[in-house]
């Protein structure tokens, strides 16, 4: 029961914390409108070119990308790096709980705080563009939601693992920024992976990238995709990430000198 109480308290307090940033929440939602821009570009291109997807397919694909992004945004590396550089990790290390749970709670709580803004924006999109509206199949919705949760977990684990390098580097966020470049292209955020050459697709399906956006989006909009393989690859990457993370954490803590603390 203690664990339930801990989870509840963390979520309630961090939800209150996130709601302190009312104006910022709307701006953060809008700041992730790259998929909507890509939607405009690709829908326009589809009308004039020969693609496997129609303009309407592109619109649905990218609004689904927008939705998936809203639930999978992760910023833990920026917070963790600041904690290390400014010595703010010290008070957290003195508590009998792994500091990661503070970050997890803040991220999960932020999803709830962001939810009404995201729903409002998606609703507005369908009001302006009613032809694009669709209902995912019940199974597509269930698997899609599960894939979104998994995508968030995987993205969090990967970024938190990169964050561990802050113990040795002054700016671990540089790793994330390099990684983001691959994420941008290989996750399906810039273009659906169906448009990529077959050889490229054959390789990237074994990387974590497609599972962070393309996989849940495909399940939501109904693009055929191997569901079992998708979840297995995600689980394997999660496991690898956790192993690397804990290994780096143990070494990092030894190296930590409590800078500025």
């Amino acid at each position: 029961m203690a664990i339930v109480r801990k989870c509840k308290t963390f979520l309630v307090v961090y939800y209150a914390y996130m709601l302190e940033y009312r104006a910022e929440l709307l701006l953060w939602v809008l700041a992730n409108s790259l998929p909507l821009i890509m939607m405009g570009v690709w829908s326009q291109a589809a009308e004039g070119g020969d693609f496997s997807l129609t303009a309407l397919d592109f619109a649905r694909y990218f609004i689904a990308v927008f939705i998936v992004r809203q639930f999978t945004i992760v910023w833990v590396i920026w917070d963790f790096e600041r904690e290390i550089v400014e010595g703010k990790l010290s008070p957290r290390l003195l508590q009998p709980i792994d500091p990661v749970w503070h970050h997890v709670a803040a991220h999960v709580a932020e999803r709830f705080a962001r939810f009404p803004f995201s729903v409002g924006l998606v609703g507005l999109f369908f009001v302006l563009y009613p032809q694009a509206f669709w209902w995912p199949s019940p199974m597509g919705l269930i698997w899609g939601c599960l894939a979104i949760v998994m995508a968030f977990i995987l993205r969090f684990i990967i970024q938190y693992t990169f964050a561990m390098f802050a113990f040795w580097l002054e700016r671990a966020t540089a790793i994330e920024q390099l990684w983001f470049l691959f994420y941008l292209f290989l996750s399906g955020m810039i273009a659906p992976l169906d448009l990529f050459p077959e050889a490229v697709r054959a390789v990237i399906v074994w990387t974590p990238f497609p599972y962070l956006i393309y996989f849940p989006v495909s399940l939501l909009v109904g693009i055929p995709t191997p569901i079992a393989r998708g979840f297995v690859v995600m689980l394997v990457w999660c496991a690898l990430g956790i192993i690397a993370n804990r290994w780096l954490w143990r070494r990092g803590i030894k190296h930590y000198s409590g800078m500025g603390a």
Binding site: L94, K254, S257
Partner: protein, 327 residues
């Protein structure tokens, strides 16, 4: 049975060195060089349960580094350390539940939320039940005169109130050992006094052990019978505060107001004359001769007023650090 034991504790830090200027920047980029700084060197001491010990030293002497090793935040390069029966850097849950570290210039409270929200998180972390949580918050907020302040966002609190709220958060789990690093830093005199009174009361009520660093000597004189002096990473004194005072300030200052002016030569027989200004004079008299000398002055001279004071403790401690040794 001691609660804190340090035995030949060492800490060596690698520090990057960079020459000024463009050339220095380039060589720092391509070939980073480090030198090793011995922050703490063979520090040994023991503290018994319930003691309140002052930990003094100039900036960079190794106080905070020692506190970090005692709380398990950093690994010692060499030596042994045990706190409350645990090896700190293993960071066992049982150990973390017994200690706390308060740093005057660092905060653990969530800035944009009322302190009560951060306290709820702490209660969950330390498995403190709701009723017990309420009881402890009421008790500590009364001791700290924080009633009504805990529901205001932390950023709206004054510096003194914030520090008190930090103390409350750090003590909610009733730790046995308190490490306090400059807990009154930047506070006004009233706030300093109330923090000091709180710490004394907490120590008496719960028998907690306190190791305290402060640049305000009033904190040390009000709370600590025993002091540890650290200088350039080495412990140079471990003992009673008044013994240190006696050793470093064997004189007391006698201020005289006389009915008529006297020459310096008239007063030299009583002690070292610091100043003579008209009818007023200041003399330094050895502690052991004080009673006899004062009686003699009162018998020989027509005195309107006489006061005896200790030299300021800051001056004594400063003298110790300047000499770098106590013996």
């Amino acid at each position: 049975m001691t609660i804190i034991t340090c035995d030949h504790l060492d800490k060596v830090y690698p520090v990057a060195i960079k020459e000024p200027g463009f050339k220095g920047t380039l060589s720092h980029f391509f070939q980073r060089q480090h030198r090793h700084v011995q922050a703490v060197q063979a520090v040994s001491f023991q503290i018994d349960p319930g003691e309140v010990v002052g930990f003094l030293g100039p900036n960079g002497a190794g106080k905070t580094t020692t506190l970090k090793m005692l709380t398990g935040l950093i690994h010692p390069s060499d030596g042994q350390v045990r706190v409350a029966g645990h090896i700190p850097f293993r960071r066992h849950t049982k150990f973390l539940e017994k200690i706390t570290l308060v740093m005057g210039q660092k905060q653990q409270l969530l800035w944009d939320l009322p302190a009560l929200d951060s306290l709820k998180i702490n209660a969950a972390v330390y498995n403190i039940g709701y009723r017990e949580f309420q009881h402890r918050v009421d008790e500590l907020s009364e001791m700290l005169s924080l009633a009504g302040k805990l529901t205001q966002p932390v950023r709206k609190l004054s510096l003194g109130e914030r520090m008190k709220a930090e103390l409350l958060a750090a003590l909610l789990h009733r730790p046995q050992v308190l490490f306090l690093d400059e807990p009154t830093l930047g506070l006004d005199v009233n706030a300093q006094v109330s923090v000091r009174e709180f710490l004394r009361e907490y120590n008496q009520r719960y028998g907690a052990t306190i190791l305290l660093t402060s640049h305000y000597m009033a904190d040390i004189t009000a709370l600590c019978d025993r002091v540890l002096l650290i200088h350039q990473g080495q412990l140079i004194y471990d003992g009673a505060l008044n013994q240190l005072m006696n050793r470093f300030a064997p004189f007391r200052e006698v201020k005289l107001e006389l009915t008529q002016p006297h020459q310096t030569s008239d007063l030299e027989q009583y002690g070292e004359v610091e100043e003579v200004m008209g009818r007023e004079a200041r003399l330094l008299v050895r502690r052991e001769d004080l009673t006899q000398t004062v009686s003699q002055i009162l018998a020989d001279l027509q005195v309107l007023d006489l006061t005896i004071t200790d030299p300021p403790i800051e001056e004594i401690i400063g003298r110790v650090f300047q000499s770098g040794k106590v013996t």
